[in-house]
């Protein structure tokens, strides 16, 4: 290893340094959690752009908005709303669920 690893770490570091910053003027969508269900259960969103998802929890109990496809997991305290930034997405279907109520809290984003 010795100096090799040094050189390699440097190169990887260079790669890490070249990332893209974020933008804030992206299209916004709202999801409401009510009686452990998402409303609307299916949300049509544009593909290829960053999106802001507002998730409002109108239940008196906490929920966790989670999606393995979208790589997101975020707790939504009771009566609160949270912001989830997703995308840019390829066209397709992205299921999400409420981690504390799997049986009812199911929904999907449809990116077109």
């Amino acid at each position: 290893m010795d100096r090799r690893s040094g050189a390699i770490v440097l190169i990887l570091g260079l790669f890490l340094a070249v990332g893209g910053p974020a933008r804030a003027d992206d299209p916004q969508f709202t999801l409401v959690i009510k009686e452990h269900r998402f409303e609307p259960p299916e949300l049509q969103v544009p593909a290829g752009v960053k999106l802001r998802l507002l998730v409002k929890n109108e239940d008196p109990t906490p929920e966790e908005f989670e999606s393995t496809e979208l790589h997101r997991e975020k707790v939504v305290p009771p009566g609160q709303q949270i912001l989830v930034i997703v995308g840019p997405l390829d066209a397709g279907t992205y299921p999400f669920f409420g981690d504390f109520h799997h049986d009812t809290a199911q929904g999907k984003l449809i990116a077109k």
């Binding site: 290893m1 010795d2 090799r4 690893s5 040094g6 050189a7 390699i8 770490v9 190169i11 990887l12 570091g13 260079l14 790669f15 890490l16 070249v18 990332g19 893209g20 974020a22 290829g48 239940d59 008196p60 109990t61 906490p62 929920e63 966790e64 393995t68 496809e69 790589h71 997101r72 997991e73 975020k74 707790v75 939504v76 305290p77 009771p78 609160q80 949270i82 912001l83 989830v84 930034i85 840019p88 997405l89 390829d90 981690d99 504390f100 049986d103």
Partner: protein, 522 residues
């Protein structure tokens, strides 16, 4: 009750596995029970506090408080685990060499147990706060009553603890002289997995780019929701659909920690370290394109030490479409094997497009090949190829390109695989995406002068939006290489020629490629 138990079990499982690794790693250290118990207790307390302030945390930092909090404590845990391993790398041998049992105990007592205890605390806090929120939610909703809640919670916690205890007892069966190296590897992988989770949250907070939403998808093979999937998620950072940035953090953690462990170590373990570096670099490479210049060149992981070379590569395309009818590319390269494991080349690349006839210099590239192990030392010869390119044309972007290059010799055949990631930068760069391209070469050494075989060159395009295979570039076809010695004073000449068929509609119909090279050791 079962539904409650399952959710609680899932959360407890992760923390419980981490506690077992820490317990096994600190076996034989005085007062470790106290430290670990303290860590768990503080973790439970912290979990309740975090759950209690969930709303405040969620609204903090423009709504990104949860993500940043999670990332911060995850990276704190990574730092603690790293510190523990570096310390053990430095002092572990001294401890083992203490002649008396008392001396060993005194030396072991100096171990940074607070580092491990805080990792236990963080793990319990993270998973515990979700459990607390979940159980609080059930209690608040009054669903199912106290029996449901307490019973389910207890079964879940017991289940998680049993799996953790199983891992701990399994680890204890490892003979003492290997236990330390096994647990330090486990801690290294645990740290890499936590760093990858930290990157996940920083991406969710929109601080880091994803570098590809889903580099691969192995959910059909092992779902992260299954118990084995979750166990591997903790132990090695397994993710069924990883983002590029997660792989970068995973690999960078392994590499940086190994480098630190080695630099501060008194007694390195060479072969294993190398093996791990290779594994992590290969996975990093699979992550880390927009090759501005398609030169159809294979980069083997072999460095010819002290050898000077002058090389020309060229290609000429054929296509019914006038835009691609007769495109021409060419390079002139000067290279030298500076060290036994580092070869470097400067490449001048030019092209002439059918619809833009003047032949012009496109870019100047600095190419580097790092040989990771001595040729033939292992089953596979691994290397890293890295290139920085400066555009010579107005309006074009500069680029980095990096990735693993692997070679396998099998009888008298040689096979090379390149996996390269390219990333544009500079004032004219208009894409943030990473481009992935790959190449394969198989040659059959009939004689040194005549080695027939085939090559494949693919470019998957931008990782952010991988298109169907029809819209990717893919070429494959027969090639012949060979070399002729000119005597020790004059070095040797190498040649190569081939024809690549375009296999997708995004690729031209066919391309002739050639290569000429003169090499001499100085």
């Amino acid at each position: 009750m079962i539904a409650v138990a399952i959710i609680v079990f899932r959360e407890v499982l992760e923390a419980s596995l981490i506690v077992s690794i820490v317990l096994a790693a600190s076996k034989g250290t005085p007062r470790r029970g106290l430290w670990v118990t303290g860590g768990i207790a503080l973790g439970v307390l912290g979990a309740c506090i975090v759950a209690g302030f969930a709303a405040e945390i969620a609204q903090a930092v423009a709504g990104m408080g949860q993500e940043l909090f999670n990332a911060a404590i995850l990276f704190a845990a990574v730092g603690m685990l790293g510190w523990h391993n570096v310390w053990m790398g430095r002092h572990g041998k001294e401890m083992a060499m203490e002649a008396s049992a008392l001396g060993r105990e005194v030396a072991a007592g100096a171990r940074p147990l607070y580092a491990l205890a805080s990792v236990v605390g963080i793990a319990v806090l993270r998973e515990g706060s979700e459990t607390v929120l979940f159980l609080y939610g059930l209690a608040a909703a009054g669903s199912g009553g106290l029996v449901n809640l307490v019973g389910g919670g207890a079964i879940g916690i017991a289940g998680g603890a049993i799996v953790g205890a199983g891992l701990y007892l399994g680890l204890l069966r490892i003979p003492s002289r290997y236990l330390f190296s096994v647990t330090s590897w486990m801690i290294l992988l645990l740290a890499a997995g936590l760093a990858s989770q930290g990157a996940f949250f920083l991406n969710q907070a929109d601080v880091l780019p994803a570098l590809g939403n889903q580099i691969w998808d192995t959910s059909w093979l092992l779902s992260e929701d299954s118990v084995p999937g979750r166990v591997l998620h903790v132990l090695i950072g397994y993710v069924a659909r990883p983002e590029g940035i997660q792989l970068v953090f995973w690999a960078a953690t392994v590499i940086i920690l190994l480098a630190l462990m080695r630099w501060f170590s008194t007694a390195p373990t060479r072969a294993v370290t190398r093996a791990a570096v290779i594994i992590s670099l290969v996975s990093a490479g699979v992550v880390l394109a927009q090759a501005a210049h398609a030169d159809f060149t294979i980069h083997p992981p072999i460095v010819e030490y002290q050898e000077f070379e002058v090389e020309h590569n060229g290609s000429y395309t054929f296509d019914p479409n006038p835009a691609n009818k007769h495109n021409e590319t060419g390079t002139l390269e000067l290279g030298y094997g500076v060290l036994p494991w580092w070869g470097t080349e400067v490449e001048f690349a030019w092209s002439r497009a059918a619809n833009d006839p003047p032949r012009r210099l496109d870019e100047i590239n600095w190419e580097n090949t790092f040989e990771l192990t001595d040729q033939g030392a292992y089953w596979l010869d691994p290397g890293i190829f890295a290139e920085i390119g400066k555009s010579a044309r107005v309006g074009n972007s500069d680029h980095f390109e990096i990735g693993p290059t692997l070679q396998k010799e099998w009888g008298n055949t040689v096979h090379v695989l390149n996996l390269l990631l390219a990333h544009g930068f500079g004032p004219n760069n208009d894409t943030k995406s990473v481009d992935f391209n790959y190449a394969w070469q198989s040659l059959w050494t009939l004689r040194q002068e005549f080695k027939p075989g085939f090559e494949i060159f693919g470019d998957a395009g931008e990782l952010d939006r991988i298109r169907g295979i029809r819209d990717q570039q893919l070429r494959a076809g027969p090639v012949v290489y060979g070399k002729v010695g000119l005597g020790s004073a004059l070095g040797e000449l190498k040649y190569g020629i081939g024809y690549l068929f375009g296999l997708t509609h995004a690729t031209e119909k066919g391309a002739l490629k050639w290569n000429l090279e003169w090499e001499k050791v100085f």
